[in-house]
Symmetry: C2
Subunit: 185 residues, 2 copies
């Protein structure tokens, strides 16, 4: 990988915006179809004014029961969550909910590729952590009580990504490596 | 297929509710992970009252850019839209939008299984129409101007489903046949 002194990640965008841009690139090139799922909303009250669009007047945010993103790449089902942390040396596991982990475990069992895309926002560092490794760290907290994944562990078990121009976050390079590590599956 | 005189489909549920129930069954049995995507909402104004949940005070429905459902079954990416019609003898193509067709075409190219699950609500008849056939009928309207798919055509090119107890709509049986027709792919 070539290194650059320009930090393409330092643009004041949220990780979600950065991934959406990357997905637009992948879609446009016919490489992958991966979309952010809409935020689930509980709608309570809707007005239907004459001659104009329905207006939602009362609604609440619902907790997502799955992950942020899913889609298809190289005939494979892709499912992942994006996570940001302001921590410097470790990633806190309380960024995940049990139902997200369970969802990823169910998809993995059926042959999907599941992972987390983690950003350390203070340093613009990005890691893809494969599901099997994430599940290991998730279980570990119930064994030895460690509530986070150290950055060193992410360096060892994850795939570090560098920002580039297009796609901004080339996370499917890491997915390619995951597919290779699985023996092409 | 055994026939039943009881019509399990006649329960006053919307097609979406029927599919969600079926998906809950498939998920619970570890057969497939397929979810309805949340309705996309454009949020304009949110109140953050003290000591209680954020309240969305103004928001609008956005047109979905993709399909209703996606997920994984037998290692395959699954993507489909559910459509109801009150018509009796044909299914009007204006139930689809170009961007939904384009989305399904993009997913098909990458190896996903895309289809439409069509319900004739007056007769409780259900059909799965594979993407390749749907795309054919979609294109046809720009050639000979026919703006619908006749029920006879659905009988011939689609997979007819019968309601049953569990899952209520066994639509993955049709997906199995699509996979077979594709030579296991
Ligand atoms: Mg997230
Ligand atoms: Mg629909």
């Amino acid at each position: 990988k070539k290194k650059s002194t320009i930090n393409y990640g330092d643009r004041g965008m949220s990780l979600e915006q950065e991934i959406n841009l990357s997905n637009a690139y992948y879609l446009n090139k016919g490489i992958a179809v991966i979309h952010k799922k809409p935020t689930p909303i509980q709608i309570v009250k809707v007005d239907y004014p004459k001659r104009s669009a329905a207006v939602i007047k009362e609604a609440y945010f619902k907790q997502a029961s799955t992950t942020d993103y899913n889609g298809i790449f190289k005939e494979k089902y892709i499912d992942f969550d994006a996570k940001e942390t302001t921590n410097k040396t470790s990633f806190p596991l309380n960024n995940f909910h049990q139902h997200q982990i369970s969802h990823m475990q169910q998809c993995s069992k059926l042959g999907g590729i599941c992972f987390s895309l983690i950003k350390f926002v203070k340093t613009n560092e990005l890691f893809v952590l494969n599901g099997t490794d994430l599940f290991f760290y998730w279980e570990r907290q119930y064994n030895d009580g460690r509530k986070s994944i150290s950055k060193q562990e992410l360096e060892n078990s994850g795939y570090k990504l560098s920002y580039q121009i297009n796609p901004l976050i080339p996370y499917l390079d890491a997915v390619d490596k995951i597919i290779d590590d699985n023996g092409g599956k």
